[in-house]
Every structure is written in C-alpha cells, then in structure tokens.
Symmetry: none
Subunit: 413 residues, 2 copies
Amino acid sequence: MNVLFVVCDGMADRPVRELGRKTPLQVAKTPNMDRLAEIGITGIVDPVAPGVPPGSDVANMALLGYDPYEHYTGRGAFEALGTGIDLRPGDIGFRCNFATVDASGVVVDRRAGRISTEHASRLVEALSEAAAELGSELGVEAIFTNTVQHRGVLVLRGEGLSRAISDTDPGENGKPMLKCVPLDDTPEARKTAEIVNALSERFRAVLSRHPLNKELPVPANAVLFRGAGTLPEIEPLSELYGIKGACVSAVALVKGVCRAAGLEVLEVPGATGSYDTDLGAKFSYAIRALEREADFVFLHIKATDVASHDHAAGKKVTFIERVDKALGEALDRLDLEQETYVLITADHTTSTRTGKHEGDPVPVALAGPEVRPDDVSRFDEVSCARGGLCRLRGMDLMPILMNLLGKVKRFGF
Amino acid sequence: MNVLFVVCDGMADRPVRELGRKTPLQVAKTPNMDRLAEIGITGIVDPVAPGVPPGSDVANMALLGYDPYEHYTGRGAFEALGTGIDLRPGDIGFRCNFATVDASGVVVDRRAGRISTEHASRLVEALSEAAAELGSELGVEAIFTNTVQHRGVLVLRGEGLSRAISDTDPGENGKPMLKCVPLDDTPEARKTAEIVNALSERFRAVLSRHPLNKELPVPANAVLFRGAGTLPEIEPLSELYGIKGACVSAVALVKGVCRAAGLEVLEVPGATGSYDTDLGAKFSYAIRALEREADFVFLHIKATDVASHDHAAGKKVTFIERVDKALGEALDRLDLEQETYVLITADHTTSTRTGKHEGDPVPVALAGPEVRPDDVSRFDEVSCARGGLCRLRGMDLMPILMNLLGKVKRFGF
C-alpha cells in the first residue's frame, strides 16, 4: 500500500464577495475532489495552530509531520536544498534576489525587472567567482548560484557561523537596502553579518562594472540576502517510518523542505509553478514513482496560491477546476480499494481579498482501502468541517497516513 | 474591522432535570444568539482542557489567549489590579474578606453578614492605617483597601516576598481561621507568611476595639486573606497584536485579568455584576469604544453564573433571555457584513445542580465579515458541537479573531 499526498498551495480561502460570499473551492466544479470526500473521510486542519498564518516552509514541514515550533531553522536552508546544494550541518543558507538599486542605495526593484534566467546566469558566473574569492579571504566557503529569473541562493560554509543575522532585503521597493546586523550577542553572529555585508558590497562592485548591465533595460546591480537558515535537525521520513518517499514540486522552497525530510525530488519537465504548469505530467511522475517503489509521494501544486496573491478569485476557481480534472485522470489510474491512499489538502489559506497567507484552517479529504468514510460528499472549507477527521493539526496527518500503511511503531506494550 | 467578544459567566450548563433534561441555553428563547449561530460559525470550547473546571481568573486568561498552565500566578494579583491598584512586579496581592470569628477563633460568617460597602469603608480607614504602620515596622509596604460589601484587597510590596504561602481563609463557615504557612522552603515564603500572620492579628486587634463593631448586628471582627498572587509575566495584547482593546465588566477579578492583558477597563454606571445590572449600558459602552478607536472589546456578564451558583435554573433561563435581548439591540447597531466580528461564549460551564464550575466545554458562535458560515442555527451546548469550528481550546479563540483582523504575524516565510 502507498500514499499520494496532494497539496494545493493556498487553495483554501475565505468567503469572497465577488463569488457571492462563497470560497473558490465552494464555487469550483470539483467532481473528483468531491469523490474523494464522498468515498473517504474529511476534516479541517490547522497547518500549524488555529489562527496562525504559516509560511510555505513552515506549513509544508508541518504537513510532512514535523512540528515547526520545534524544528524550524529558517527559510534559507530549504532554498539551498531545493536548488540541489547538499547543505551540511553548520552551513548557512540564504534566499537571494537580483535587484535594482539607485545611486542613493534605495531598492527601486526587488526583482531587477524580473531578469531572465539566462541573463541572471551570466551575472552569476562573475558573482560566484567573486564570492569564492572573498570567502577565501575571510576564511569561509561562499557558494552563490541562481535558480529561476531573479532568484538565487547563497551558502556560507565554515567554522563559527550563525543564522542569527538580519536580512539586507528591505522587503519592499522604495526602501534602502539594509546592512546585515547580528541578532544576538555572539561572535558567530557578528562574524556572519560582517561576511554578508562584505559580500553585499563586493557583489555591487562586480555588478556595477559587468558589461551585461549596460545592455539590460533595468540593471541588476545588487543582490539582496534574506532568510538565513540552517539545516533543521529532523529525522528523515525514511528512518522515522521506514518508507521510501518522493516529491513533485516546481518550487525550490518546497523541494528543499522535502529534501530535508528525506524525500527524493523528482524533476518533472513542464512543472513551472505557474498557471501553465503541466499538471498531467506531475501526476504521471507521481503515479510512476508509486508504481515503482515509493511508499509515499508528496505532490505540490503552486498556482492556486499564485491566483490568491494576484487577488484573482475567478482564476483561482478555474485553476482549481484544472487541478480537479488532472486529479480525476490520476484517480482512474490508482486502485483506492486495495492499494493507494489519496489525501488532498492545502498547505494554508490564502485570501484572495488580502492576497496573504491567513491562519484559517484548510479542508482535507482522505480516501483509500481502510479509511472510515463519513457522510461528507463535497470538498470545501465548510463541508469538510463536518467530517470524520474533525479538526486536526498539520503535523497529525503523517502519523495518520503512516498508520494506515502499518508504519507507525506502537507506543507502550 | 474590530471585535466584540461577549462572555456570559458560567452560562453553559449540563442538562437540568427541572428543565426536562435540557440546558438553560437550550430552553431559553435566544433569537439573537441563534442569529449569530445562523450567519456565523460555531463550535465548542474547552476553556482550559477537557474535563478541567476553571476558575474565573484562569478561564478569562485563556479566553484572552494566554495559556494559564504557563502564565497563571494566582488570583490575588488580578483582584488587586481589578480594584485599580497599579500592581508592580514582585508585589503580592491577596483577595480579602471581612469575616465574623467567634471567641475560639472559628469563622462563623466568612462574609461578616454581607456587611455594607459603607460600613466596610469605615473599618478600612482604621485598617489601612494599621497595615501601613505594621508594614513599616516589618520593612514592607502594606496596602489594604475594600471593594464591594465584604470584599477587599491587600498588597504587600517590598524586597524578598513570595506568593508561595497558604490562605488564612478556611474556605467555609464553622472552621477555624488558619495560620498562614510557607508553601516552600524559601526565606521569602517564610517572611511573607510571618507578615500575613502579623497583619491578621493586628487587624483583629484593631477591629475588636472599633466602635462600629458595637453597632453592627454581626461584627466584622476579622479579615481573611487568600489567593496570594503576583503579576503574571504576559505580553499585553497591544504588543502581541498591535491592537487597542477595552473591557466592560463589573467583577474586579475579571477587570484585573483584562488589565493584566493590557485592556483599558471601562467603568459603566449601572453595571453591578448581579441580576439588576444594566445590560444596555454595558453594550452601549462597548459599542461606543468600538466606534471610537478600540479594535477589541471584551464584554463580561456575570449574573448567568450567579443564577447557577444559586441553583436557580429558571432564573438562569430568564437572565439568558435578557442578555439575548440586549445583544439583539447591540447587533442592530453593528455592521457584521463589513466591520465587526461578534463572538459569544461562556467562560466555563456552571452546573445549576452542583452550583459549581464544571469542566464541560462551552458553546461559541462567531459572526462577521469573513467567517465561513456553517449550517448550525441554534446557540446552545449541543447544537454548536456540530459547528464548523469543531472543538477548540479557550486560548485558540484570540489568534482566530486576531487573524480575521489581519493582526497575527506569519510564522515562517
């Protein structure tokens, strides 16, 4: 037996005025999600705690069974892991942005005009060399690389570093780029902040004279650092439950969380993390992994969240319906009577009104060989609240699933 | 957007034989509470934990979002705060009673014949002077004052005091007044117990020769001390959530909890904490605070609990109906579509049979702009158990409300 765990990012919502005070999930035609609710058991889930809006890193950690209040060690490590860097204990990872900064040091565009991946890669050639050089001057290893468009990752490796430092990213356009400062009174934090500030200056110098920046409509003349993080000390799912697991996601941050949990990251061509993503390919890769040897596949779909951040309720409905269709095709290929448990949920509520992650619970439906079906037959935030799973925490789902696979050790005699 | 949080003390109950095995809430005609249930979301709440009967201090702390298992530091501090004393860290507060004690030291009336506030105030003139005098002999500041009828407050201020001491109040009539003893083996506890015993004796001496006691039908010839407590170390709601909040309550203990949480205490003329309280005035003050600048008003109504302690099921039903009527008039003045969230609940179950606080959960209904309505349309202990909030802890309500106002910080990226 095995598990397909489908997470639609930010799919849950609050009642939306333009949808007649219904949520996108209530309005969308979702016969396949409804079928899971109908034949399975449903409930609502507080990703971390009632009323607390979780970040994507924290929410997905919790859905994978780890208590983020105990184990969360910052975003940067997940970003680094998610780009394929083999982060080691003690390494400090950072999420980075190419940005455009004016002469007075004010960030005018935190995404450098959404610079193309190709252009960013050309700049990274120069920067990664500069990082390595400066690192060796300062007695650390400094690894800088880019992912998609303006996005990049920095890793600092060496003795005596700390993640207790602030961001250089001011968080919004029109504000000055910040100095990195230590957040506690340790020599490690002071040292790490100094290294980040030195890198920040060196990068600006290198970028200011880079020939590509003369060609670009908006120069990428700075790199912003944020979310310093270290590898969380968590036991991988393979050891916790003795399972083989994989994940499908287009988002580096989510891939990183999955890698930290010991899941194999499957790279799926056509998975973009946007509306144009190839949902069929994502489900196919997931099913193929289950058919081979995976006990557990975590399938993450991003664009439901993108629509919410864009305040696009209609687009959210349409995309949910596309997910439902792809889910239906997947269900036709799975044996829910004998072999496979399918769980569908969201990692958090994202309000299409506020455009932000919110702390409201998310619906969950779970179908498969031996669940106890309840009488809920619609998959949405309101219907599932009457379900047989009642109200759970995000970190409760994995033990429930692993118990259905017979993988949870008995506690006591 | 803002929140009106209505708490009816001990309103929840168990099925009552004389009400045909229904609860007072089930029997009462409550069209306005039902309307909140109908348009809103409902659930049941364990004030502190399933099966645990909470005191009013602990229950209201939890409803304000503080985990009492972590933060509760005794009743006395809340009593002192609630009477308007600016308690400082390290101060020890006590709830006090004027009492009648016979020649052998047995407490014959723990309330000194429910002495009038006016008479008690005359005695307090002499006692507060005696307390100040004895305090300066013993190297501490001792502040004694009265509130309503037989009720008073003592505060000890100085170095090296402890709240780990026992009560001098035996808790029921017919038992001897107790010596205060240290509850741990520290010099602070021993010192504090000695001071309390010295004050206890000095007060008896002063009261025994006080001329008023010759006129009273039942002499108030002793003061009982109980509930030694210190200021809890909690972050006020203003800092936790960046809100401005106020409270309306006639009960010193509840006012004290609210002050500890950083709420402004609104003094409402006609708020008595009894059946004759002016409910209209209380709601009006609350609404006026919301109209001015409060993000959050905590409105506490006492007499539901009084009826329960009096074993008066019929009176409880009648008073609940009066609350409902006042609530209805308030709802007519509020904009629940755009502006205001209204939550109604009880701080605990009080059984009209046992006359005691019980550990059963309480119903909750929450209506307002962006809640997800469920299909419950009756506000009572049984109907709300099927609601969309499912079963929560008391301390979960504040994060849920503050999240609806956009005031809860995201956890993680």
